[in-house]
């Protein structure tokens, strides 16, 4: 299979990630080397390759299998693509037993299958909830995507974003003058809308809070971003953005660990430099999971709390500093649990409390919370060339939303906001996608 026809497209430019395109004939050998190293330092990968009993309980629970109906998208089958190679070269035991396990050689076809199917897993971890052994396929997907990146098989979409991140401190590649121009515009819009001088501060040393938005909050999701400015204003909290890095979304998390670490360290350093008392993370799934679960491994003990926007606002709401007028959100609203908030980020109750405070008619969908289906865009599967796949991945979610008959789908994650409108339109579910900040901003009594 030539590189050109892979979906998603393969990146040609990966120098900035300190990666090389490995010549095709050397890839199988290199893949084995990397796999051999990974099972020595990732217990999750090693265990999950060893303890699976092929019971298939995961199959009916994976939105990827349910949506695409491709048997390789059953979590057990997807990991088996690696397990069969692992069995041949790394598992203990006599070789006739390994043959019985289906152990096979690694070849170009295997690598092609890895590229294909590990870009059909959204790393949503729903399988881990239903697997008796707790096998988290996302860990395998993360490892194999990293392995593929080291072979020179990173996706164009992901590599391009990490390049933007390195060059400008945000995933969209928006240079600082453009960001500042946009911020100035939003301040004008805020004045026009509310009559108040609500600031969007940048680089204020000694502010209480460093806020990390997703860069799409400054491009498409500006309603949510303006709402954040209003919320901080009303709560009386001094806050700031950092001109050095305006992106909480961590794309390295799902395919390249060094990038994940670097991004998180940059964010931490921005907070330290501005001498803030805490960092507040905005509406972004992978960024939140990295903060909540990975950043103390990356940075060591944190010098200040890192909390989510919802935790921050819930605190202000409980203390009475901000109040909401529910009648401003009269429509039926349902809530989509981003995978990295619910299963990955311990943020299940907080957004619900805020929703109940600021909307009149909140209905839960089925399944919900930790059992919720992924939107289908998780782990950065937002590339245009994979649109057909993305719509299939979003099918179970579309059906969940359809049954609620809600008018508004609250999805407080930048990837979900990019994926869900297309999914809902494609599956003909008449619903509008909004972030939680948007809804809070609408109802906030200024």
């Amino acid at each position: 299979m030539s590189e050109q026809v892979r979906i998603p497209y393969v990146a040609k430019d990966i120098d900035h990630m300190y990666l090389n395109v490995v010549p095709v004939q050397h890839r199988p050998k290199m893949a084995l080397e990397i796999l051999g190293q990974m099972i020595k330092y990732k217990r999750s990968l090693k265990l999950y390759l060893d303890v699976c009993t092929h019971c298939g309980a995961c199959a009916d629970q994976c939105h990827s299998y349910l949506g695409t109906e491709d048997p390789y998208n059953m979590p057990v089958a997807r990991v088996d693509l690696v397990r069969k190679v692992y069995d041949k070269y790394f598992a203990p035991g006599p070789s006739f037993l390994k043959k019985w396990n289906g152990a096979k050689d690694i070849d170009q076809e295997t690598i092609d299958l890895w590229y294909k199917y590990f870009h059909q897993c959204n790393q949503c971890r729903r399988c881990a909830v239903f697997c008796p052994k707790g096998i988290d396929t996302a860990e395998v997907t993360i490892a194999i995507r990293e392995l593929l990146a080291h072979l020179g098989l990173a996706t164009k979409f992901h590599a391009g974003i990490t390049k933007n991140m390195r060059d400008t401190g945000n995933n969209m590649g928006t240079p600082l003058p453009a960001l500042l121009d946009g911020i100035e515009f939003l301040e004008e819009e805020l004045k026009e809308e509310t009559g108040l001088d609500i600031p969007i501060p940048v680089d204020i040393e000694g502010a209480e809070v460093l806020f990390n938005p997703s860069s799409s909050d400054l491009f498409t999701n500006t309603d949510g971003f303006m709402a954040v400015a209003k919320l901080f204003y009303k709560a009386g909290v001094s806050w700031t953005l950092s001109s050095k890095i305006m992106e909480t979304a961590n794309f390295g998390l799902f395919f390249h660990e060094p990038t994940m670490r670097e991004h998180n360290m940059r964010l931490m350093n921005a907070g330290k430099e501005l001498r803030v008392q805490r960092i507040v993370a905005g509406e972004c799934g992978h960024g939140w999971r990295t903060w909540r679960m990975f950043s103390d491994t990356i940075n060591g003990p944190l010098p200040f709390p890192v909390i989510h926007l919802f935790e921050e606002m819930l605190e202000h709401y409980k203390k009475g500093r901000i109040q909401f007028d529910k009648s401003k959100n009269p429509e039926v609203v349902t809530y989509h649990d981003p995978c990295n908030y619910a299963r990955g980020g311990d943020l299940i109750e907080q957004p619900r409390e805020l929703l109940r405070a600021c909307v009149q008619n909140f209905v839960e969908m089925e399944p919900t919370a930790q059992y919720s289906y992924c939107c289908g865009g998780g782990s950065g599967l937002l590339m245009d060339e994979a649109m057909e796949l993305r719509m299939a991945l979003g099918k179970p979610k579309a059906e969940s939303v359809r049954k609620t008959q809600a008018k508004i789908l609250c999805a407080p994650c930048a990837i979900c906001k990019a994926q869900l409108p297309a999914v809902m339109a494609h599956h003909k579910v008449d619903v509008e996608v909004k972030g939680l900040s948007d809804l809070m901003g609408r109802a906030l009594i200024l």
């Binding site: 974003i161 819009e189 799409s216 309603d223 060339e385």
Partner: protein, 105 residues
């Protein structure tokens, strides 16, 4: 994606159908790109959006935020989708010869 031929010149496109070299853009290239986006002709309304985008891009090296685009052209998002079916980021930016916006969009 196949390259465009405009006035006998080969205009290189990347896999997403965006211009590889932003400097080759002109009105005829815009029309050719528009056809790939199922926009049969570029009316004055189209040009208002395209010119604003190019202007901003020249100044800031990037596409403007959608809200600003709507405010400055006076067209709401619905109207932009009518003019450019793929939307402001993927449709209008492509025809205006900008780079493809990437990230969580």
């Amino acid at each position: 994606m196949a390259d465009l031929i405009v006035n006998g010149q080969v205009i290189a496109l990347d896999e997403d159908g965006f211009l590889v070299d932003a400097s080759v853009w002109n009105e005829e290239v815009a029309l050719a790109l528009a056809k790939t986006e199922d926009v049969e002709e570029l009316t004055e309304e189209h040009w208002k959006v395209i010119n604003y985008l190019r202007d901003y891009y020249q100044k800031f090296g990037v596409a403007p935020m959608v809200r600003k685009l709507c405010k400055e052209t006076g067209y709401d998002l619905k109207k932009i989708y009518e003019l450019f079916p793929s939307g402001p980021a993927k449709g209008a930016c492509k025809i205006a010869g900008l780079l493809k916006p990437t990230g969580c969009v």
